[in-house]
Amino acid sequence: MTKIIPLTIIFFLITLSACDSPPNSQDIENNSTINQIYIENKGSDTIVNLALAWAEAYQAVNPEVQISVTGGGSGTGIAALINNTVDIANASRRIKEKEIENAKANGIEPVEFIIARDAIAIIVNPNNPINELTLEQISAIYAGDINNWKEIGGEDRPIVRLSRETNSGTHVYFLEEVLRLGDNESKLLFSTDTLLLPSSEGIIKEVSQNPNTIGYDGLGYVTEEVKVIAVSQKGSKEYIFPSATTVNNGQYPIARDLYMYTNGYPQGALKIYLDWILASEAQLIVTELGFVPIIKQ
C-alpha cells in the first residue's frame, strides 16, 4: 500500500496549485478582516527607481500599505493598466489616443498625473572628442544621414546608434521630439541599423566601452562612465547641458514630463498615496535621484 502515498501527494499538490490564485487589490480592500493594502505599480523603466524610492519611503511611514513596483517600459505599464492588472501605470510619455480607445473598450478610464520631470541626456564615450551637438545634428545621426564622427568634427570612426526598445517611453519621446524635431507631419524613422537595447543599463554599458557609440538615457541613469553632451535648441547654436535648472527654465531642449495613470479618479489608499507623491516630501526624493521636481523647493 505504501506505493500509493507518493501518488496521493502528487494529487494533493495539483489540487493545491489549482486553488492558488493571486489576490486582487480590490478584494483585499473590501475585506475588513485583513488590513493590508496592496498597490501594484508598473511601467516605465525611467521611473522605476524613483517609484521604488517613493514606495520605500511611504511604506516606512505607512506599514499597512504594500507597494510593489516593477519596470518593463511605459508601453508595458499602460498595457497592464488597460488589461486591468495594475493599480498605477508609470509612463515617461503621454498615453496615446489609441491606448485610451483600447482602455475604454476594456472599461478602463485612464486618469493622468504629472509626477516629475526628466531630462534626456545625449551620451557618448568619454574618449570621444565631441562635446556639443545641435538638435538637428542628433536627428540626422539617428536618421542615418550622418554615419561617421568626422562629418561633425570628430575622429574618423563609424557611428553606432543606440536606442531603447520600442516599448520604452523614452524611445517614443525621442522619436517625436528629437528625430522628427517635434514635427507631427514628419514620417522620419530611426535608421534600421540602430541598436535597440532592452535596458538603460545596457546602453550605459555599451557607451562606456565602445568609442563609436552615441546613446540617450534619462539624466537620472547617467553615470560617471559616460560623457554627457551639451545640446542646442532647434535652430540655435547655444549649447546647454542638462540639469534641474536648465530643464525648469526651458533652456535644455530634450526634457519631458513623467506620468502616472490610474483607472478612474483614485479613491482611498491610492488617492492618499498619489497626493503624497505630489507633495514636497516626495518631490525632495525626485531631486535626490537626478530628476526634476514639479514644484519649486
Partner: protein, 298 residues
C-alpha cells in the same frame, strides 16, 4: 490483497497512459492557441506589408523578413560552431579520452548545460563583445557573431550528451573488428563508429539547432536587436534582431487583441513552422538512409 494489487496496477497504468498522451494533447492545444491568436494578423495586415523590409511596430511597419533572416543568420552561425565542436567533444569523450578524463569532462559539460542563459548573455555584453570589436575592428561587438558564438556554447552540451550516448551504444565488436582488420583509431571512428551512431548523432545536432533557434535571453542581450535585412555575408558581423528576441521584448507592451499582438503570435507560428521543417528534414534524411542492418540493431 490480490484485488487491491490489480486496482493499483490499473491506476498506475492509466496514469502513465495519460502522461504519455498528454504530450500530444498539449502540443495540439499550443498549436491551436498559436493559430487562433496569430492568424487574425493576416486579416489585419496586408500580406505584402509582411514582406516589407522594415520592422517598426509602433508606426505599423510589420515586415517579418528582417526578423526571419536575423534568426536564420544567428542559428546558422551557432550551428557552424556547435555541431563540429559538439560532435568532436562527444567523440573525444566516448572514444579517445582515458577513463579519468572522461569522468572529469562529463560533469563539466553538464555544468555548461546548466548555465542560465542570462549569465551567458551578461558575459557576452561585458567580455565577448568588446573582444570581438577590438579583434575584428567592428563598429560594435553586439552582433550576429556574438550571438552565434554564445548560442553555440548553449547548444554544445545538448549535442555532446546525446551524441556521446549514441556513440557509447555502438557495440564494442564493431571497433574491435575494424582494429583487427588493421584500421587506425581515426579510421575506425570516422568510417565505423560514427556512421553506426549516425541516427543518434543527427538527432543530437537537431536538438542542438532547435535549442539555438528557440533561445531568447542571450540573443536579446548580445545581438543588438537592430532589425536589418540580411543581404550579404557582412551581416554576420553586424547587429541583427531575431524572432525570439522580438517576441520577448515586445510581448509585454502590446494590448491584448491589437494588430501588433496578433503579428507577434504570427511570428510564433513562423518559428514553430521553421522548427518543424528542421525536424522533418532531418527525420526524412534519417529514414532514407537507415539500412536494414541498422534497423535490426537499433
Amino acid at each position: 490483497m490480490k484485488k487491491s494489487l490489480l486496482a493499483q496496477e490499473f491506476l498506475i497504468n492509466t496514469i502513465i497512459k495519460i502522461s504519455g498522451y498528454s504530450a500530444i494533447f498539449f502540443v495540439g492545444i499550443i498549436f491551436y492557441f498559436l493559430l487562433s491568436q496569430g492568424l487574425p494578423a493576416l486579416n489585419q495586415v496586408d500580406f505584402s506589408s509582411l514582406l516589407n523590409p522594415r520592422w517598426y511596430p509602433i508606426e505599423e511597419y510589420y515586415g517579418l523578413l528582417p526578423l526571419i533572416s536575423g534568426s536564420l543568420v544567428v542559428t546558422l552561425g551557432a550551428t557552424m560552431v556547435a555541431v563540429p565542436f559538439g560532435i568532436g567533444t562527444a567523440i573525444f569523450i566516448a572514444e579517445v579520452a582515458p577513463r579519468w578524463a572522461r569522468e572529469l569532462l562529463k560533469p563539466f559539460v553538464e555544468i555548461l548545460a546548466g548555465l542560465p542563459s542570462v549569465v551567458l548573455g551578461f558575459l557576452g555584453i561585458v567580455a565577448l563583445s568588446p573582444i570581438l570589436r577590438n579583434l575584428l575592428n567592428l563598429p560594435t561587438g553586439l552582433s550576429a557573431l556574438a550571438g552565434s558564438l554564445l548560442l553555440g556554447a548553449i547548444a554544445i552540451p545538448t549535442i555532446v550528451s546525446v551524441a556521446e550516448d549514441a556513440l557509447d551504444a555502438v557495440p564494442k565488436e564493431y571497433r574491435d573488428g575494424a582494429l583487427a582488420l588493421g584500421a587506425t583509431e581515426w579510421q575506425t571512428i570516422w568510417t565505423i563508429t560514427l556512421p553506426a551512431a549516425r541516427s543518434g548523432v543527427l538527432t543530437a545536432s537537431m536538438l542542438g539547432i532547435a535549442r539555438a533557434i528557440g533561445e531568447t535571453m542571450t540573443v536579446m542581450m548580445v545581438t543588438g536587436n537592430a532589425p536589418v535585412l540580411a543581404n550579404s555575408l557582412r551581416v554576420f558581423f553586424s547587429p541583427v534582431r531575431t524572432m525570439t528576441a522580438t517576441i520577448a521584448a515586445e510581448m509585454g507592451e502590446v494590448a491584448n487583441g491589437s494588430t501588433h499582438y496578433h503579428v507577434l503570435f504570427l511570428i510564433g507560428i513562423v518559428l514553430f513552422v521553421i522548427s518543424l521543417v528542421i525536424n522533418i528534414t532531418i527525420s526524412a534524411a534519417l529514414f532514407q538512409h537507415t539500412k536494414r542492418s541498422e534497423k535490426l540493431l537499433s
